[in-house]
Structures are given as structure tokens and as C-alpha cells.
């Protein structure tokens, strides 16, 4: 089979790799680029463990064929913390105790990131809707929702301090 020269931006860096065009973006991220933070749960678009951000939208990477990611900008869980500093959402998840087995966590954090980028002051119901495509078997979602509330408040405060 002819390989496809996949060019995309992953976590801010330009990537160009020859791949089998039948691969899913999930496989490219995990097996070719070794970004194993993105998880595979169901492989059928139901659980959200494989969530990544593509051009600002939350997408199940198990449902994206590699060529569909061509020329797109991808953010994975590895890309949201800078210079060894945790992202506000990551710290909030730790503080709230929102991580149990952790399998859903990368997808949850990215789902929350997209939610907060669109709605910086979400109510409880908005948060539940924002993460409804991401299944968690461990936490009952209570502390995840709490973490997103904490992060939203933290981001508001940061913006206030920056005088934005």
C-alpha cells in the first residue's frame, strides 16, 4: 500500500510522517509519535478516552483516519502543560481528587479544556453536558465536575490578575 505523507501540527510542533492511510489518528499518535497519553477505550466513538483537540474542537481520535488529520492542528494531553508547569485543569483535577484509575482523565481534561474555551463560566449542567461524551467508570463524575468548577474559577482569577 502507498504510504501517505501526513503533515500536521501536534502540540505546537510540525510533524511530517509517512503512514499507512488506513491508520487511525489514535494509532498515529500512540504508535508512531509515541504520545501514549491518549487512550483507547472502546474504539467505536462511545467512551471519549481517545479524545484530542483538533482545530479547537473535541474529537474522538479513534474515529479519525490519519489522512483526515492532514494540515490540522492537534492538541493531546501531552501538549497542555508548558515548561513542566501543570495546566490549571490538571492542578484542579489533582486538588479535587478527580482521578481514580486515570484512564478517562486525559480525555476528560481535554473535554473540559474545550468547554472552558467556549464557555468560561459554565454551570454544573453545562459541565455535565461538556463531558457527557467522556465515560468514567470510577468517580461518578462528582469530583470531575468539581475540578472543572475549580479550574473555571482559577482561570477567571488569573485573567482578573492579568487585567484582561
Amino acid at each position: 500500500m502507498d504510504l501517505f505523507q501526513l503533515e500536521m501540527k501536534v502540540n505546537g510542533e510540525a510533524v511530517s510522517v509517512p503512514v499507512n492511510p488506513g491508520l487511525r489518528l489514535l494509532d498515529v499518535l500512540r504508535d508512531v509519535l509515541h504520545l501514549s497519553g491518549t487512550k483507547e477505550g472502546c474504539g467505536e466513538g462511545e467512551c471519549g478516552a481517545c479524545s484530542v483537540i483538533i482545530d479547537g474542537e473535541l474529537v474522538d481520535s479513534c474515529l479519525v483516519l490519519a489522512p483526515q488529520a492532514h494540515n490540522r492542528e492537534i492538541i493531546t494531553i501531552e501538549g497542555i502543560s508548558a515548561d513542566g508547569e501543570l495546566d490549571t485543569l490538571q492542578s484542579a483535577f489533582l486538588e479535587a481528587g478527580a482521578v481514580q484509575c486515570g484512564y478517562c482523565t486525559p480525555g476528560m481534561i481535554l473535554a473540559a479544556k474545550v468547554l472552558l474555551s467556549k464557555n468560561p463560566k459554565p454551570g454544573r449542567q453545562d459541565i455535565a453536558r461538556g463531558i457527557a461524551g467522556n465515560l468514567c467508570r470510577c468517580t461518578g463524575y462528582a469530583k470531575i465536575i468539581k475540578a472543572v468548577e475549580l479550574a473555571a474559577a482559577g482561570l477567571q482569577q488569573k485573567e482578573g490578575e492579568a487585567g484582561v
Binding site: 472502546c42 462511545e46 481514580q100 484509575c101 455535565a128 467508570r137 470510577c138 468517580t139 461518578g140 463524575y141
Partner: protein, 331 residues
């Protein structure tokens, strides 16, 4: 029409099975820098056991939590701790770690008593310091360990816990099947739509006797997670089997609760100290899920005046029962 109801479910659950041997082992090593390593075969699967074991070791050794490293579930180096099942690890492995830490502590306390010319029973270890009753002595645990090293004394301990294995009386079925028991009561509030049959859980209050809550945030997390599994069991989850084949093997056909299916959960931690547990702790893993479906089914019965006997309470089942009852009513 929406009908409103409340239901209650209560349970007790055995912790620390005594039907067969049920041991766990641990090693605790006090290192040269005054920090400690705990070795336990206990597999952390997200329930928080590694944190709990670190807390138990820190409390026993008199060091800060950050100064305890835990190595778990590595058959190359850790002693067997049995499975992470049956809500047993806090109770069983927690006891093993406590016993191992007590032994490591004894070495340090004995040497400190000798150096300070004090009675070992008056020595306390707190925050990495050696205390004489309520007064700091100015010596650190690290100093004492250095002294031990100079004399070739190891500051480590091993511990094993195995609740006494009992046998049930074959004639009467009576005996002591568990070392201790956890208790819980949950109350559910529901709305049932009589046209669509959809049951919406509005609120769950979940009160659990867990003995001492070693880590209250983890206990809450276990309770909240258990409630979500209980909601799934009550309303959504059913393995459909036909001719020995599972018909709904994926998450598109076997539904589990999403964030939108979850009501607010109010965990209530009841701390009734268990004398045989590590610092009074028992377990909470499975108990968290046990009473939820009963509470919800009772709430549905309260709302509709109809008792359903088959879980899950799917909209189809609820509507069918309402219709069946209506058909019995005189025109």
C-alpha cells in the same frame, strides 16, 4: 405526568474474609535520609490504596507523607498482598503495612532511647523528629538512622496480617465468615415520567460506616463512583445473552451512566472505629454500590405505587408495568 418518590436501601458487607486464608505482607525500610520505602504487593487500580498505605506508614513512622515512597504490585520485589478485591486492601494490607512500619520504628526508637538515655516508651517520632513525650529532643530520625548504620543495624521491618481463618459450622451454617463488617444506608429521590417510563434520579444521600476514613477525599470518591455504578445497575445496565452469546458487547449497546445521568451525591462518612483495622479503618470499595439500586427501586415503587422486580428499570419495563396496572383498573 411526573411522579416523585423517595426510597431507602441499607446493607452490611463483610470485610476481611475468614473462610480461607487471606494474608498480606509488607516491608517498610527506613532509609539513610530519614524517608521510608513501603513495599506491598497491593495493586492500585484507582481506588487509592497506594495513598492509604503511604498515610498509614507515615503515621506509624512519624514522618511526613511526602517522605514515604510506596512500591506496589511488582512481583520482582514486593511481598504478596493478595488481590485488590473484596474491599480488603485498606483493612488487610493496611494492617500489614502498619505492623511492618511498627517494626522499623522500633529499631529507631530503641537506638534513640539508648543515645538519649531515655525509656523507649517515652519516645515519640513526629515529622521526622525524635520527641521525648511532648518535647522535641533536637535529634532527627535521620541522625538516629545514621547512628544505626554506623553500627550495622538495619532499620527495616516486615509485617504480615491474616485474619484468623474460621470454618462455618456445616450443620448450622453459623460462624464468623468475616473479620469485620461495613454498614451503609442510601436514600434516593426520583422523578418517574409515567408516559415515557424514564426514571430520573434527582439526588442520592449515601451514608457509609467505613471505620476510620484514612483519606476522606478518597472515601468520597469511592462512594460517588459506587453510586454511579449503582445507578447503572438500577436503570441501564443489562447483559443480554442469547444462545450463549452476549448481544450487547459494546458501550453503544451496553449503556453506563454519563455525567448527565448523575444526580448530586451527598456522601456521609460515618467513622465508627474498627478495633482490628489499621488506625480503625475498614473498607468501602464494594459497599458503595450495594444499596443504590435498592434505594432507587424503592423510590420508584414509592412514586408509582408499583413494585418492579426486574432490574434494570428501563423505560420499557416501567411503561409496561404502568399499563398492566391500568388494565386492571375498572373502566
Amino acid at each position: 405526568m411526573k411522579k416523585h418518590g423517595y426510597g431507602i436501601g441499607s446493607m452490611w458487607y463483610g470485610i476481611g474474609s475468614t473462610a480461607a486464608t487471606n494474608p498480606s505482607g509488607a516491608f517498610v525500610d527506613f532509609l539513610d535520609d530519614g524517608t521510608a520505602i513501603v513495599l506491598s504487593g497491593c495493586a492500585e487500580i484507582g481506588q487509592g490504596s497506594t495513598t492509604v498505605l503511604a498515610q498509614i506508614a507515615a503515621e506509624t513512622l512519624g514522618v511526613d507523607l511526602e517522605d514515604v515512597a510506596v512500591i506496589t504490585a511488582d512481583t520482582g520485589v514486593t511481598p504478596d498482598a493478595g488481590p485488590s478485591s473484596a474491599s480488603r486492601q485498606t483493612y488487610i494490607s493496611g494492617n500489614a503495612v502498619r505492623l511492618a512500619a511498627e517494626k522499623a520504628r522500633e529499631q529507631v526508637v530503641a537506638k534513640a532511647a539508648e543515645l538519649l538515655d531515655l525509656d523507649p516508651v517515652d519516645i515519640r517520632l513526629r515529622h521526622g523528629q525524635v520527641w521525648y513525650e511532648a518535647e522535641p529532643t533536637g535529634r532527627t530520625i535521620k541522625d538516629i538512622i545514621a547512628q544505626c548504620r554506623g553500627e550495622g543495624i538495619l532499620t527495616l521491618g516486615h509485617g504480615s496480617f491474616n485474619p484468623v481463618t474460621t470454618n462455618l459450622d456445616p450443620a448450622t451454617g453459623q460462624g464468623t465468615p468475616y473479620a469485620t463488617y461495613a454498614f451503609a444506608t442510601q436514600i434516593a429521590e426520583v422523578d418517574v415520567d409515567t408516559e415515557t417510563g424514564i426514571v430520573e434520579v434527582k439526588k442520592i444521600v449515601a451514608a457509609h460506616d467505613v471505620g476510620t476514613a484514612v483519606n476522606p477525599q478518597n472515601v468520597e470518591g469511592q462512594i460517588e463512583g459506587g453510586c454511579s455504578m449503582g445507578i447503572g445497575y438500577a436503570l441501564l445496565e443489562e447483559v443480554a445473552v442469547k444462545d450463549g452469546k452476549i448481544q450487547n458487547p459494546g458501550l453503544s449497546s451496553y449503556l453506563i451512566p454519563t455525567a448527565l445521568d448523575m444526580p448530586e451525591i451527598f456522601p456521609v462518612i460515618v467513622e465508627a472505629t474498627e478495633p482490628s483495622g489499621p488506625y480503625g479503618a475498614k473498607g468501602v470499595g464494594e459497599p458503595a454500590l450495594v444499596p443504590t439500586a435498592a434505594a432507587i427501586a424503592n423510590a420508584v415503587a414509592d412514586a408509582l405505587g408499583i413494585r418492579l422486580y426486574d432490574l434494570p428499570l428501563t423505560p420499557e419495563r416501567v411503561v409496561a408495568e404502568i399499563k398492566a396496572l391500568d388494565s386492571l383498573k375498572p373502566e
